[in-house]
Amino acid sequence: MQKIKKDALGNLVYGKIKLMILNGALKPGQKINKKELTEQLSVSQTPVNEAIIRLTGEGLIEQQERKGFFIKIFTYQDLKEFFAIRAGMEGVALRLCVEEQPDNTLDKLTHFFDNFSLPLDENEYKKYLKADQEFHQKIIELSRNSIIINFNKNFDFIMKSYQKGLIRPPEETLPEHKAIVKAVRNRDSEKAQQLLIEHHLKSRKVIKDQHLKYNTNN
């Protein structure tokens, strides 16, 4: 019995720290202060240490020899990969939603951007960022495909790709989001998949260009 409780605690601590990394409460590049973390979560050292090792294996934390553990800063190369994979994964997920799910399920996907119109003020921008994240997560969830759902849970490509904030401004992405939603409403699965793929590949291109610029400047 005791042991089960311990596993559960381990998982809980792991989940909390992971969330802190993905939502930015722990900043990229920041050194991990184990003592502070144990106090903050009011747990002992052991589950915190275990979680850190697990997250290091997952590439969210990195160990620097003799210096300690740091929140990993994703490289341009990493981000390019995330967007490439997202294009494939979410494209299929969206297509499955549109082809297989009933109207009332699809309804949960089509209202995220109803209340946004350009230009966005600072407050709306924050809400838009959140709507953006939730929309893309929802696509995965509503695909009802166990492989895609697990894959996203195990790799967190969606949340990881927001580490540097929005890659492109809402001026570009809001109309794209609305076009995707429209294709979903029209039950045009191939178009929805295509638009979503393009949406991510455009972001990927921006990252690629920044990468090139960064390399030539140095």
């Binding site: 697990r54 997952e58 990969e81 994979i85 494939g88 299929v92 499955l96 495909n145 166990s146 894959f151």
Partner: protein, 217 residues
């Protein structure tokens, strides 16, 4: 400069275990005996544990607390879900492979087709599974559509879907592969797409038939 990094070591262990799964040296549901593998590969436990954690995230193995690591056994629902994804990705890849392939790439694909043919009777050793895996992966690679290739390679989709053996007879599978190859060789995108679609659709249908039979039992 010459130090062996832990990451390299665990990456090597990871690839070895993956290969063992692919070639049936480890079969589904089988326990991965850590001591055995560690001594087989001549590594200590820590790179082994890192490799196992990675394989677990990739859904190839399952770690059961206090019992150990097992080669993952997919449920029927998971298999169907897997093929539903392949059905929507691979025809697209086949289309683009036909449009974009170079002569060099075609030669490479031809080699893999020959391998499929030669492995026809190697169903029990996993030879055919491996050849099938390589043939399908190559087409995704040739498509030069990075998101397709990344998606199927990171997710181990092809590997997982062959875990329980192939879903159609070796003869039928080879016939399909030949048709797909011909379409890619002739740069006929739409044909390649259609053949690939039918090839995978048949597997989906066989899978569902199998599921119905099981449900009646």
């Amino acid at each position: 400069m010459y130090t062996v990094h832990r990451e390299e070591l665990s990456e090597m262990v990871y690839r070895s275990i993956k290969e063992m799964i692919l070639t049936n040296q480890l079969s589904t549901g089988e326990k991965i005996v850590q001591e055995k593998i560690a001594s087989q590969l001549g590594v200590s436990r820590s790179p082994l544990l890192a490799a196992l954690a990675k394989l677990e995230r990739e859904m190839l193995i399952q770690i059961v607390p206090r019992k150990g690591a097992f080669v993952r056994k997919l449920s029927v629902k998971e298999f169907v879900d897997l093929y539903e994804i392949r059905l929507r990705l691979e025809p697209l890849g086949a289309y683009e492979a036909a449009v974009r392939r170079s002569d060099k790439q075609l030669k490479e694909l031809k080699k893999l087709l020959t391998e499929c043919e030669k492995s026809m009777n190697k169903t029990h050793t996993g030879g055919l599974k491996k050849a099938d895996y390589k043939f399908h992966m190559k087409i995704m690679e040739i498509s030069e559509n990075e998101f397709l290739y990344r998606m199927v390679s990171v997710s181990n989709m092809m590997l997982m879907s062959n875990l329980e053996g192939l879903l159609k007879t070796p003869e039928k599978s080879l016939k399909d592969h030949k048709n797909i190859f011909k379409a890619i060789a002739g740069r006929k995108g739409k044909n390649a797409e259609q053949f690939m679609y039918e090839h995978i659709l048949e597997s989906v249908n066989n899978l569902k038939k199998r599921e119905n039979i099981n449900a009646k039992d």
